[in-house]
């Protein structure tokens, strides 16, 4: 990153390094933990690449009216299932002759929303519940964990279907249903890592110096458990995109003709022998997006893990 620090570390052996650090600004002036995370992220090309790709996908989705170049809803029966590279439809057309590029652009909006929002909701609620349960333990912890166990009695997709069926179809209901589905595993993960972290001596030391429970959680527990929880959450995003696609397919989530990658994949699957490349495109988008989220979470985990810092 910065030229100066790079050269000193490269040139200096252990002895020189001491002198280099001796010239460093006095303690307290140094950036905190998050500065260090930022510095490490900036040195990781893979994470930067996937983050840029993700930002690109998000940008195209948000700017769909500007970049799509065609209406995602109107198609022509005459131009059904055109191959990739057709003039006017560079990514081809779908089974009703709608421009696939336009539908992919617009579809990204709903797919990303359906992928990210349930995870974000479950991260906030489930993460909080899990940290509270793991830190406090005892009766509160048992109450939270046993309640969560009830949700484990149902297979997750059936639970989502049941909630969707109860609330009626529509995007917001499917998001809510998926959030409920993701809360139990999120609580489990955060409860486990928190219960481990709270037994560490530095947490006890902080308590022993009269730090309040909220401060102990905020300063000592959360920074040390956030890594695994965030990694798990980002890995759920791809699951969420696929599950919401499944709900749409069953008529419980997004309803046709609104574009959504999962729904498009489902309706195009009949055309897989006619136009395999066109039919695969929504799936490719789901794949790239979830891959990027997974790699990004890996990168963040490494950057947040101080021990890996060389």
């Amino acid at each position: 990153m910065t030229q100066v620090s790079a050269t000193t570390t490269d040139l200096a052996g252990p002895d020189l390094r001491l002198s280099a650090e001796a010239e460093a600004p006095p303690p307290g002036a140094a950036g905190g933990y998050w500065h260090a995370v930022g510095r490490r992220l900036a040195r990781d090309p893979v994470t930067i690449t996937v983050t840029v790709v993700l930002l690109g996908i998000i940008f195209i989705s948000l700017a769909a009216p500007l970049v799509a170049g065609a209406d995602p809803y109107t198609g022509s029966v005459l131009s059904r299932l055109k191959p990739v590279g057709t003039p006017g439809h560079w990514l081809g057309t779908d089974e009703t002759g709608r421009d696939l590029w336009a539908r992919l652009c617009y579809g990204g909006r709903l797919s990303l929303l359906a992928g990210v929002l349930p995870v974000a909701i479950s991260l906030c609620t489930g993460g909080l519940l899990g940290i509270v349960a793991g830190y406090l333990g005892g009766i509160v912890g048992t109450a939270i964990m046993r309640t969560i166990d009830v949700f484990y009695a149902f297979p997750s997709i059936l639970l989502a279907i049941a909630i969707c069926g109860l609330l009626g179809n529509g995007l917001s209901n499917s998001i809510l249903a998926l959030a409920v589905v993701f809360i139990p595993p999120m609580v489990r993960i955060s409860e486990t890592v928190t219960a481990q972290a709270r037994q560490l001596d530095f947490v006890e030391a902080a308590r022993a110096s009269g730090t309040s429970t909220m401060q102990v959680i905020g300063h000592h527990v959360v920074p040390n458990v956030l890594g695994p929880i965030l990694v798990y959450a980002t890995s759920l995003i791809s699951v969420s995109i696929i599950l919401s696609a499944g709900l749409s397919f069953l008529g419980l989530g997004v309803t046709p003709p609104r574009p959504e990658w999962g729904l498009m994949l489902n309706s195009l699957r009949q055309a897989i022998y006619v136009q395999p490349y066109v039919a695969a495109l929504p799936g490719v988008m789901i794949f790239i997006t979830s891959m990027c989220f997974n790699l990004m979470s890996d990168g963040f985990r490494s950057a947040m893990d101080v021990k890996l810092n060389k």
């Binding site: 001796a22 140094a30 530095f202 902080a206 920074p223």
Partner: protein, 364 residues
């Protein structure tokens, strides 16, 4: 050195001899613990019922005098660390009371637990897990003062000064993370962290046990220097008898959650009275071939604390046990006629007469 100047400016140097926080005078013990108990329930079966109780610490009473080092020895699982955590109130006691410098702790008319914690700090055995891996050394040390309202800049200065006082150059170590330090260096930082709140009593829970012998010696010397400089009182918990002899003024021997013998270090080491203490010292290897270990060392593991023996807990492994030992718990009393009320008295919890102990087996 600029460090010296910084030290002089630090509020830390303000009290080397006469401590303004001293309330009870020199004769008032810094900490009095009475009938401290902690029983852990063992749960199992249907509905998580309490099926048994581990008496980890059972009816423990002692006093720590101002400026002394009280050593606590005993086998693994005898309740040494639980006692330390009870004193810090990291776990709540089931019973018992504490008096800190004349003030009852946690009760009406006394000082709060947090007020006590400011004056009492702890150094843990595991130097790595007792430092937050996400915090630099300066952040770890200055954390507690900042939580108590010391401004960031002042707290950072105090952290730098403390790093210097534990023998680590603040310019080098302040911005390092725990994994970048050796075990000895980390334990020095832990000591600095414990001192950051300017405590009067420091509990050292196996603080040097995990270190190399050479590093251990350095840290022990450092502890001695800091004790003199900051007028500290130590509660030194260790299973290493040699180290305890070296650092302690008085020693307390624990067995299965109870104190079996306490007294001045010379008395305990030269005239151990309780059969357990004798066996413990007999198990200590000697370097002198003329003074080989003759007394029978302890065999077997300590009994399960879930179901401790009735009466004297040591009787199942004791060479001198008599039927009457099972009847009642022997009180901690003076065997040599010293005044029991005196905090420095040599006290033993054993009913077997001295003559009988001496007659059956001689000890070195």
């Amino acid at each position: 050195m600029s460090d010296t100047a910084r030290l002089a400016a630090s509020p830390f140097t303000a009290f080397t001899k006469s401590d303004p926080r001293d309330r009870g005078g020199p004769a008032q013990p810094l900490l009095i613990v009475e009938n401290l108990s902690r029983h852990f329930p063992v749960r199992g079966g249907l509905l998580n019922r309490r099926v048994a109780t581990v008496r980890a610490v059972d009816d423990v009473s002692f006093a720590v005098r101002k400026g002394e080092t009280l050593g606590v020895v005993g086998e693994s699982g005898c309740g040494k660390s639980t006692t330390a955590r009870l004193l810090m109130r990291l776990i709540d006691p089931d019973g018992g009371s504490m008096v800190f410098d004349g003030d009852p702790v946690g009760g009406r008319g006394g000082i709060s637990i947090n007020a006590m914690r400011r004056q009492m700090q702890m150094v843990f055995q595991d130097s790595y897990s007792s430092l937050n891996p996400r915090m630099t050394m300066a952040e770890s040390i200055s954390y507690a003062p900042r939580m108590h309202g010391v401004p960031r800049k002042q707290a950072a200065e105090r952290a730098a000064a403390l790093l210097g006082q534990v023998g680590l150059n603040p310019r080098v170590f302040a911005r390092r993370y725990p994994h970048e330090l050796s075990g000895g260096q980390r334990q020095r930082v832990n000591i600095a962290r414990a001192l950051a709140l300017e405590p009067r009593l420091v509990i050292l829970d196996e603080a040097v046990s995990a270190l190399d012998k050479s590093v251990e010696a350095q840290v022990l010397n450092l502890l001695g220097e800091l004790k003199a400089r900051f007028n500290l009182t130590y509660l030194f918990i260790s299973h290493d008898l040699n180290v305890v002899e070296y650092v302690s003024d008085r020693v307390m021997v624990m067995y299965l959650g109870r104190i079996v013998e306490t007294g001045p270090v010379d008395d305990i080491y030269r005239r151990p009275r309780h059969p357990y203490t004798r066996a413990l010292f007999a198990s200590k290897p000697t370097l002198d071939p003329d003074r080989r270990t003759t007394e029978m060392p302890l065999t077997g593991d300590p009994p399960n604390p879930i179901d401790p023996p009735s009466g004297c807990r040591f009787r199942t492994r004791c060479a001198f046990a008599r039927p009457s030992c099972a009847d009642h718990v022997p009180p901690l009393a003076s065997p040599f006629g010293a005044v029991a009320a005196e905090p420095a008295a040599h006290l033993v919890a054993c009913d077997v007469p001295e003559a009988q102990l001496a007659g059956e087996a001689g000890h070195a």
